[in-house]
């Protein structure tokens, strides 16, 4: 690497703030995701707490310069704890008019607006379907507009490298990055290491040009008068330890590795590509040296079925998908619960129904995974609450699957799958083992092995092929309890349906009780689940700071519910259930606990903002009068 230490010193004034929310927007080919990821990592290394929200179109390269092709990355970094990527923007960096007009509404009044003014020519306006340049609009007076000729400045900066016009143009996102780094006093070292790692060593022309563009962006910030000062965000006081930044899908993959190690198993991972779950496959297939066997199957059904085959053979079997793929796996999930074999089914939810909104987030598969199978076919369902929580929850799921001998569903969503946060790296040597036994002797000394004879949790033995004397057949037909032989006996069927239900209910015995954040009783309980945790927690804490009697119970175990949940609910006068769906958890809670829970439902493919939740909490608590149920 040829870089000298990157300067972070400035001669201008520095204003210290507690947190910044910035969004970087441009064409989907402009490298906004890369820019965002680098800013995130750099801020994390600086010790800030962070939360991110990448937002990109489903099309790989939508027509250049159009509104459909706008790709964005939002990050909040702060010296205090943050649980969301932020509601409104302190700064917006827009690389073209389409990106500007589709994002401007989220910039606060007086916020900093940095644009690449070279891309506001007539042809750019036309692509964005604009008659007048938004930079000429009177509304611009509401913002601190900084027009930067990024394309020209980048071209000049990299002139010495003799790049083609196209190659030189591609460096402009690093120019923008340099400017942003100057603005927030970010250290460029990690990004310089990235540039030279990705584009080659010190001899690479492209790498050197990108470095030059980055430094030119920094220098530009230091020079121009329009930016009178830069900002400083101090490190947050996080618990002691070594941290790294982690993305939700990556945490899911790493959690699987940890679960495998804890249980002495090797992973068989089968999936079919689908947004937003594919990154788990991309991540896991790197780890063949951990003994991980990844299988890209011919379809979703083959993915889950091959996993069932691997599970029968004694492997740690995992399949992942999103809503449409889960729909296809449905019949096989029913088979796995009938075979009573451990299996992890991970559903990274996206906007539905049908193909829906592939790259946008939603929480609308809850009913599908709890109920979406033929017959009486309950399964445990767990839901991750944040990117780092994916690491934890998938291990809990594997513990349940193996202790109870059944498939377990893990819910994630597009928001936490692509989002990231600092992660306190665990001490691997302190991870508790997950004990699995495969019988080697018959459980029926008087006769043939009984594959459906159960233990105290109602789990059957996981006897695997290759074991002498334990040959047995399993299948989707109803079977006699104990022997596992096909049975059409009416009483046996009723008994088996109850056993399978009780087995799922027993999961609650293996899981911790529900926790409450805030007063243990009072006016309002906010009941949330899944990826809305950050927004709900932040809103509840803000309301608590205003003196409101409100608490949060964020559920991670969707089926069965924690055993103390009903009792918790009964201690509050009102219950609010915010969900990114039409009220699926609300329906379950109302049915189960006969409580008049109120919903706050948003189905826009976007996460909650803290302010909209805070408004709702305030509305429900200000006069003490009860809000009527809102059906959307």
């Amino acid at each position: 690497m040829s870089t000298e230490a990157a300067s972070t010193s400035t001669n201008k004034a520095i204003k210290t703030v507690s947190g910044i929310t910035v969004r970087l927007v441009g064409d989907s080919g402009d490298g906004m995701q890369l820019l965002g990821t680098q800013l995130t990592n750099t801020s994390a290394i600086a010790g800030n707490d962070i939360a991110t929200f990448p937002d990109f179109p489903a099309e790989i390269r939508a027509p250049r310069g159009t509104r459909a092709g706008v790709s964005g990355f939002q990050v909040q970094f702060a010296s205090h704890e943050v649980h969301t990527p932020g509601d409104s923007l302190d700064a917006l960096v827009a690389m073209n008019p389409a990106a500007l007009v589709t994002n401007l509404a989220d910039l606060v009044k007086g916020g900093l607006l940095i644009v690449n003014e070279d891309s506001f020519e007539d042809k750019d306006l036309k692509l964005a379907k604009l008659k007048v340049s938004p930079l000429e609009e009177p509304a611009m007076e509401n913002y601190r507009l900084v027009k930067v000729p990024m394309t020209r400045l980048t071209k000049t900066a990299v002139a010495e490298f003799g790049l083609s016009a196209k190659e030189a143009d591609r460096c402009k996102n690093f120019f923008a990055m340099g400017l942003v780094y100057w603005l927030y006093g970010r250290n460029m070292d990690a990004t310089l290491r990235f540039i030279h790692g990705k584009f080659g060593d010190g001899k690479s022309v492209i790498a050197n040009a990108n470095e030059k563009a980055l430094r030119a962006g920094w220098a530009f910030g230091e020079t121009i008068e329009a930016l009178g000062h830069s900002y400083n965000v101090e490190a947050a006081s996080l618990p002691e330890g070594t941290y790294r930044n982690i993305i939700g899908n990556q945490a899911m993959a790493w959690g699987l590795l940890a679960a495998a190690q804890r249980s002495g198993k090797e992973i068989f991972y089968a999936s079919y590509p689908i947004t937003p779950a594919s990154d788990i496959l991309h991540e896991l297939c790197k780890f063949k040296n951990f003994g991980v066997c990844t299988f890209q199957a011919e379809d979703e059904i083959a993915a889950v079925c091959s996993a069932i085959g691997a599970s029968y053979g004694g492997q740690m079997a995992v399949t992942t998908s999103s809503g449409p793929g889960i729909a296809l796996k449905t019949e096989a999930m029913g088979l796995a619960l009938m075979l009573e074999l451990p299996l992890l089914v991970i559903d990274v939810q996206r906007g539905g129904p049908s193909t829906g909104l592939p790259t946008k987030t939603e929480q609308s598969d809850l009913m599908q995974v709890i109920f979406g199978r033929n017959g009486e076919s309950p399964l445990p369902v767990l839901a991750a609450r944040s990117p780092a929580d994916c690491f934890e929850i998938v291990q809990e799921a594997w513990m349940l699957a193996t202790q109870l001998m059944l498939p377990v569903v893990v819910l994630s969503d597009g928001y936490i799958a692509n989002g990231s946060e600092p992660w306190l790296i665990p001490d691997v040597s302190k991870l508790a083992p997950i004990t699995i036994t495969h019988p080697t002797e018959s459980n029926n000394p008087d006769g043939v092995f009984q594959p459906y004879r159960r233990n105290e949790l109602l789990a059957r033995p996981w006897a695997i092929p290759g074991t002498e004397g334990l040959m047995h057949r399993v299948g989707g037909l109803e079977k006699e309890d104990g022997s596992g032989n096909i049975s059409y006996d009416p009483d046996n069927h009723q008994k088996m349906v109850h056993i399978r239900a009780q087995k799922v209910a027993n999961a609650a015995k293996l899981l911790p009780p529900q926790q409450v954040i805030g007063p243990q009783s009072g006016e309002l309980l906010v009941l949330s689940w899944g990826g809305t945790y950050g927004a709900c927690l932040t809103a509840v804490q803000a309301a608590q700071a205003q003196g409101t009697s409100v608490a949060l119970a964020h559920i991670r175990y969707m089926n069965p519910f924690p055993s103390n949940l009903g009792e918790i609910i009964s201690r509050y006068k009102q219950v609010l259930i915010p969900e990114l769906n039409m009220g699926q958890l609300r329906t379950l809670i109302r049915a189960r606990y006969l409580v008049d829970a109120v919903g706050y439902n948003k189905i826009k493919g976007k996460p909650f903002t803290v302010s909209e939740l805070l408004d709702k909490i305030t509305e429900m608590t200000k006069s003490g009068t009860r809000t009527s149920v809102q059906y959307q």
Partner: protein, 339 residues
Amino acid sequence: MSTTLPVLKADDFTSDQDIRWCPGCGDYSILAQMKKVLPEIGVPPEKTVFVSGIGCSSRFPYYVNTYGVHSIHGRAPAIATGLKMTRPDLSVWVITGDGDALSIGGNHFIHLLRRNVDLNIILFNNRIYGLTKGQYSPTSVEGQITKSTPMGVVDHPLNPISVAVGAEATFIARSVDSNVKHLAYTLKRAAAHKGTSFVEVYQNCNVFNDGAFSYAQDKATRDDTTIELEHGKPMIYGKDKDRGIRLNGLNLEVVDLNDGKVKEDDLLFHDEKANSTLVYMLSRMRRPDFPEPIGVFRDVLSETYEDAVRGQIDQAIEQRGRGNLQKLFNSGETWKVGV
């Protein structure tokens, strides 16, 4: 200590379950031959797994005392693939039917064959849906009257051997349920092949499609309506061994050996290693223009899927060392707080 291995018998592979196929069903014969062949293969029952889908044939696993999975419709090849990929030490058999393998499970069937997973797939072809009581299947012949086609089948039937050739299966064979000697031989050949072994068995459904293959079953007719493929031998058939198959340009033709104009050397000699175009031509031999081939169409060696997959895992471990979780977690950019 004695090192003598116990000699296995057919009874060692007989389960305690009552068989529930219709009396007279062709499945009985296939089960009997399988149980006869399994001890000869030499794999003990605990190392053998039968995987099936849905249909009459798919009840098969219950009737053999091995490990077994009676799964869902069409998915046995996928389940068996996952099992064999992770447990290459097991001998895995897929039992399927014409509806199970070629209709609802068509996708898994072709992908199993093209991947060349080392397992055996036995397709009981009776040209009818039996368990659902008599609807037409993807191998039913055009015009066939069934419960769901009162005016006759209009679909063009799939030829399972042709599909297998198209998917580049490495072992392709056909046998007949009642031809017990040939069936036993074919099953043994399938077991011996490393890679996916595909065997189509003409199987009589005496309740819903009785006599569909009587031409190939009856001793009186079968010598004239079928031709037994034998590696390295000229393709001759007929009760009096007086007809042969010759390659004429890009077509096969039936020739008469009686008049002495065509010599044995002029005939097509069967080659199990032949290119797939020729195998495809054999698969298209259909009554009444041709005798239908039984025997091994193709038997070639190619790397198995599980070997290739395990090979990459072994290579990754060799090159990078066994994965270390703590090292992975601490890789890349990290930072310390308060330590």
